[in-house]
């Protein structure tokens, strides 16, 4: 252990701890900007500088390890002046149209300037050139606002294993962006949006969905229905200063009705549908492999995450046959709404506008994929992020916190607890296992409270096995089998799982992949800034939502039975294949 003092307070921490970490442990705040917990500590911005007795210069606390007897001072005049100077220089270059910036009031640079008491920018140097890149469906980049903190570079390369963004040039000409300052649509970008999630300013953001929603709501000819993804309910409250992990399902439904949506539905309904289709697809693959000796791609990978799909299309086209052909719950909802629901509402499908609220930025890209037109038109018309829904509610003057809870509308608003946990890393797998195991054995999944503990939590690659015994006669080929499943989050972890697989292939039967750390609860469309502590709170909230449901398994959802009985006929039917399944496209890797 190391003993030091920070601002005169004795502090004892483990060897290898940085000054910043030691200060945080001691409850002493040191402001940061380029630093990102668990991902980036590069000392680039110099905002976190502190004075160390005996040291010639100020040191960046995020990269300086503590030493025995060290005396650290975080608030001296010299430190305050240096921090101010650093931020003043950033502001002098920053294209700061704060009043109209999407990040107004949610900007780390703005907050920092306020915190450091900056009231004037004494430097009149060159401004970064406004350079807006709107070439992709989900993301907008504006180099004029970029402060070169490199968080986006690190998250893209280290968390997602993509590497679409690089620092280039020097001095005032330095920019962050795709190689050779190319537009984003000319390089491999999976549209996950984690760059926008960690950007401290307005340099990378999601494309706007709010205006499209207002247009639809204002159009008297249109019926506007909305679906809300599971993860949104665990985080939307943060837009209204509720603590992370506050469940606001009922308030959200009430707010959506006040906004004027004709029907308030739940993507969880189609998450349950996904479990049925994907689970039966999985069992069908196992049967083909084990009974009919057919060459069937295994493991089966989940397909709910559009960034993972695009990642695989670019980097692992040889695995596309392994990915479940099931569309994501968002994209199952669209065609179900424009066929089955339109018929029930007795409206022409072209007058139905489907809005989805997602914790995700890649969902904007996914909804725009040309395949997503099974209803004969675009299946999902407009996608909002959780943040955008927060803005929409504020813009409309609704007092969110004062709303009483309301339920979702019936039929497409009814869901099981298994659908809730789609939000969490490990949740899609657990939901699928709850159904698959029970189908095969006619007994509930034999784990405590239906939770598969080894695949829950924030570890990057998780796995477990499930022994199958006591099978029903039609599934007797699985008697005595051991099912091996894995769960990864963060696409760099998916890359590790694939590339470190033993010769002979990936030694699992079923693999869940979610691009964002923590799963959808850590999606790039969620309120910023998502730390591991916030991820844990949202994950716990989602499990609470699941446990409080009377129905916790997708195959027990009575409205799932209804849609099969009335419309889809049976899992993997022709109609299911037409509306609920898709195919993938190999894409260039450079």
């Amino acid at each position: 252990m190391i003993d030091l003092t920070i601002d005169g307070n004795p502090v004892r921490v483990e060897e290898g701890t940085t000054i910043l970490e030691a200060a945080r442990e001691a409850g002493i705040r040191i402001p940061t900007l380029c630093y990102l917990e668990g991902l980036q500590a590069i000392g680039a911005c110099r905002v976190c500088v502190v004075e160390v007795t005996g040291a010639r210069t100020l040191v960046a606390s995020c990269v300086t390890p503590v030493r025995d007897g060290m005396q650290v001072h975080t608030k001296t005049r010299r430190v305050r002046k240096a921090r101010r100077r650093v931020v003043e220089l950033l502001l002098s270059e920053h294209d700061g149209d704060c009043q109209t910036c999407e990040r107004n009031d949610d900007c780390e640079l703005q907050s920092l300037a306020r915190e450091l008491g900056i009231r004037d920018v004494p430097f009149r140097g060159r401004k970064a050139r406004k350079d807006i890149d709107e070439t992709t469906p989900a993301l907008v980049r504006d180099n004029g606002k970029c402060i070169k903190c490199r968080r986006c570079v690190s998250v893209c390369a280290d968390i997602q294993g993509v590497g679409a963004l690089f620092p280039q040039g020097r001095g005032f000409d330095a920019t962050i962006g795709p190689a050779f300052a190319s537009p984003l649509d000319t390089v491999v970008c999976v549209q996950c949006g984690q760059c926008a999630a960690v950007c401290p300013v307005g340099a990378i953001r999601e494309t706007d969905g709010i205006n499209g929603v207002w247009d639809a709501l204002d159009d008297p000819e249109m019926k506007v229905v909305v679906q809300t993804a599971p993860a949104v309910r665990s985080a939307l409250g943060e837009c209204f200063d509720l603590p992370p992990g506050t469940l606001v399902t009922g308030k959200m439904a009430a707010a959506l009705r006040r906004l004027g949506f004709d029907r308030v539905y739940d993507t969880e309904f189609t998450a349950d549908l996904t479990v049925i289709e994907e689970g039966m697809e999985f069992l069908s693959r196992l049967e083909k492999a084990l009974v009919r000796n057919e060459q069937v791609p295994l493991p089966q990978f989940t397909s709910c995450c559009p960034a993972w799909i695009k990642f695989a299309e670019h980097f692992y086209p040889e695995l596309l046959g392994n990915i479940s052909s099931c569309k994501s719950p968002q994209q199952m909802f669209g065609p179900v709404a424009k066929t089955y629901l339109a018929d029930k509402m007795d409206v022409p499908p072209e007058t139905l506008h489907v809005v989805s609220v997602m914790p995700c930025i890649a969902k904007k890209y996914e909804a725009a994929r040309p395949e997503m037109t099974a209803s004969g038109m675009r299946d999902v018309d407009t996608v909002l992020t959780t943040r955008e829904l927060g803005s929409l509610i504020k813009e409309s003057g609704i007092d969110f916190l004062a709303l009483d809870d309301e339920p979702m509308d019936r039929l497409l608003g009814i869901s099981s607890g298994a659908a809730d946990i789609f939000a969490n890393t490990g949740g899609v797998m657990e939901a699928a296992l709850r159904t698959v195991y029970e189908v095969v054995t006619d007994r509930p999944l034999p784990v405590d409270n239906l939770h598969v503990a080894p695949i829950a939590g924030l570890e990057g690659i998780k796995s477990t096995t499930l022994n199958i015994a006591g099978t029903q006669p039609e599934w007797s080929f699985l008697e005595g089998a051991t099912l091996k499943v894995a769960v990864v989050h963060g696409l760099a972890n998916a890359r590790r799982l694939i590339e470190e697989a033993p010769l002979g292939g990936i030694d699992y039967h079923f693999v869940e992949v979610m691009a964002c750390p923590g799963g959808c609860i850590g999606g790039a469309g969620q309120p910023r800034l998502t730390t591991d502590e916030i991820r844990r709170r949202r994950i716990a909230a989602i499990y609470r939502e699941d446990e409080n449901k009377k129905i916790r398994k997708s195959h027990d959802n009575p409205k799932i039975k209804q849609i099969y009985g009335e419309f889809l006929k049976f899992p993997l039917s022709d109609r299911s294949h037409h509306l609920l399944h898709t195919a993938y496209v190999p894409r260039a890797a450079v």
Binding site: V439, D556, P558, K561, G565, E566, K569, F570
Partner: protein, 147 residues
């Protein structure tokens, strides 16, 4: 003597079920598809209907049940659905009565043991001989469907 309409496209099932029910003092009628069932139910007003699901098409029984429920002549007749659809189509759940779309008294899976069928019929029929048909109603399933 109560009358039971048996609806199934499988002649063997019809024959054996008719024999079983007649042995237990029920009068039986039969139909081999939904249209025939609808006509016979409307004209002859049986006390109960046993209804198959997969006939001319995979979900004909579901549609027939709804049509019977919408017709004032047949809306009070209890329906017991007898089906092998779960195993035939590998459906990962059991269908059950649902007031929104499946207005039946019970759903029984084939193959069904005679005693189980007879118990289900007894449970679905009105308790007393003298009951007015208008008193007969399908139990509400609302609670089962709401969370």
């Amino acid at each position: 003597m109560k009358t039971i309409l048996i609806v199934d496209d499988d002649p063997d099932f019809l024959e054996s079920t008719q024999a079983l029910l007649q042995e237990h003092d029920y009068r039986t009628l039969s139909a081999q598809n939904g249209t025939e069932a609808y006509q016979k139910a409307g004209c002859q007003r049986p006390d109960l209907i046993l209804l198959d699901v997969m006939m001319a098409h995979d979900t004909e029984g579901f549609e027939t049940a709804r049509r019977l429920r919408e017709d004032t002549r047949t809306m009070d007749i209890p329906i017991i659905m007898i089906t092998g659809i779960r195993k035939a189509k590998r459906i990962p759940f059991r269908y059950e009565p649902d007031e929104d779309w499946l207005p039946v008294h019970a759903v029984i899976e084939k193959p069904v043991l005679p005693d189980n069928l007879l118990s289900a019929i007894t449970a679905a029929l009105p308790p007393n001989e003298g009951d007015e048909r208008s008193c007969r109603s399908v139990p509400s399933t609302r609670k089962e469907n709401e969370q």
